[in-house]
């Protein structure tokens, strides 16, 4: 662990004042700080997830030359709150053939898996809740809980549509985890560490220092990562687990009301998380394009804004892709993963390793302009 939120805040003067207020109990203060920030981040991400549904409908309306939701609030922006209230007040229907225990457990596992990834998301160079040594690796590992929850959701419903959707979903999520992991491995290789702090510290300065432009292999790795991430979050054109035309609604056919809402919330937050990780790994995260030697809180907030802007730009691309491309067939899905993305990802990994040895870890920009 390189740095935590508390160790970052402890360099400021107000930390000592707060410590005095808490009767010099550092553990209690750390607990309070973490609790406040986790609640803030959960609130922020739930809002982003909720606005994601709104953005999805609005952008799709824009692409299809419709108006989209425009009744609730100005420009219909409060639509997601109305949807949430609607979901709470819906009757909870459970098939009498269902496995009750697993039926309850599946949405909870999805929610746990997605929320646990938020802990390592690098909002800025200082506002990282926990900059674990194994940061990105932890994120990939814990998000595989979503795959289990998709399978369980499909299984527990004991409905044929759900079962097919769950099996498909689980096999798709685990398959596309491989290209994503190997692409992330390339970035680990270039950065020399798995923590987000290390990865971001190599991308400071102008966009030419981003890992996206580090070398040709890293450039391709970004697209492999992005396509794999689309598939891992079950987004179109890879939304086979919930293909409406064939499987009704896939693994959450039998889910109604609040539990369906939690599945949807987890999915939208996960899309944001993979976009944020893509922004941090390849697009420089919250790094500002000019040299920042003074470290003050307002500058951190600017970094948070930059990070959010990059992540939400990728979020926009995800939605754009959804309403532009048709859905794949299952055989195409599997052949894209195993016959195209995985070999390309492995080739990228080897290319990155050879590049590191040949050019001593220098990027294209360093070689051209003689930096470092």
């Amino acid at each position: 662990m390189n740095q935590t939120l508390v160790s970052y805040l402890s360099q400021y003067e107000f930390y000592d004042i707060l410590l005095g207020l808490f009767g010099m109990n550092a553990g209690l203060l750390a607990f309070t700080i973490y609790l406040l920030f986790t609640l803030a981040i959960v609130g922020l991400c739930a809002t982003i997830g909720g606005l994601g549904t709104y953005a999805e409908r609005k952008i799709s309306a824009d692409i299809q030359q419709r108006v989209g939701p425009n009744r609730v609030g100005p420009y219909g922006i409060l639509q997601f709150l109305a949807d949430g209230v609607k979901m709470i007040t819906k009757e909870d229907v459970m098939p009498f053939t269902a496995d009750k225990f697993l039926f309850y457990l599946a949405p909870m596992l999805a929610l746990i898996g997605v929320f646990a990834t938020l802990a390592v998301l690098p909002w800025s160079s200082g506002f990282m809740m926990a900059d674990l040594n194994v940061g990105i690796f932890y994120l990939i590992a814990i998000s595989s809980l979503v795959g289990v929850s998709v399978f369980l959701g499909g299984y527990a419903s004991n409905s044929k549509w759900s079962m097919l959707g769950g099996l498909r979903g689980a096999s798709q999520i685990i398959s596309y985890e491989i290209p994503v992991t190997i692409s992330v491995l390339s970035i680990t290789l270039l950065a020399g560490g798995m923590s987000f702090g290390t990865i971001l510290s190599h991308q400071q300065g102008t966009p030419i220092n981003w890992f996206l432009f580090h070398n040709p292999f890293a450039f391709v790795a970004f697209f492999v990562y992005f396509v794999g991430a689309l598939a891992e979050t079950n987004r179109a054109p890879f939304d086979l687990p919930e293909a409406e035309s064939e499987l009704v609604s896939g693994y959450h056919t039998e889910y109604t009301g609040m539990r369906f809402g939690f599945f949807a919330l987890a999915e939208y937050i996960e899309v944001f998380v993979v976009c944020g990780v893509g922004a941090a790994l390849f697009l420089g995260g919250g790094n500002l394009p000019f040299d920042v030697s003074i470290d003050i809180i307002p500058l951190q907030l600017v970094q948070v804004t930059v990070f959010l802007a990059k992540a939400l730009l990728l979020y926009y691309v995800v939605i754009w892709v959804r309403w532009t491309f048709p859905r794949l067939r299952v055989d195409q899905l599997m052949s894209i993963c195993w016959k195209y993305l995985t070999p390309i990802a492995i080739f990228n990994l080897v290319g990155n390793a050879v590049w590191m040895v040949m050019f001593n870890g220098k990027s294209v920009a360093d070689l051209m302009f003689g930096g470092h």
Binding site: A30, N133, V134, Y138, A141, L152, G193
Partner: protein, 177 residues
Amino acid sequence: MFAQLLFLMSALLTVGCAIAVTVTKNIMHSCIFLLGSLIGVAGLYATLGADFVAVTQIMVYVGGIVILMLFAVMLTGGKDFVSRAQNLLGLAPAMGNKWTYATGLFVATVFLLTNISLMMNISQAYPAKNFGSEFPSTVSAIGKLLVKEHVLAFELSSVLLLGALVGAAIIARPRKQ
């Protein structure tokens, strides 16, 4: 303080889910309790300062082995999930007659006594206060060990995995008849 709390929660999760695995009759539920137990073990690794091993545990078990087991349960004719025959006092699935249980009880008692005496010795030799050496970064240390001292094991493990992949693919692949 938090380390103790994390230890307590992980230990309760591990032990509780492990016991639940034994007493659950439904194999699907057993798999899920196994998942809980494995996550608890990952938490225990974290309290021991083994962050890389902890995350590896989550990655391989939760993301891989448990899903594979769920697939296998589904593929082996999902109907016979629940074992009905031969229950131990109606609590847990079991087999054997009263002599089996008597012998098992005897062996378990001997095993437990031996273990307790061993552990008493160990706890005297290594008191709880001893935190041993600290590892500021296990990842880079493990990486260096893997390319230096344990390089043979590292390369051999890839051969082992290749053999497992080829062998399991041959076994699982349906025969064309």
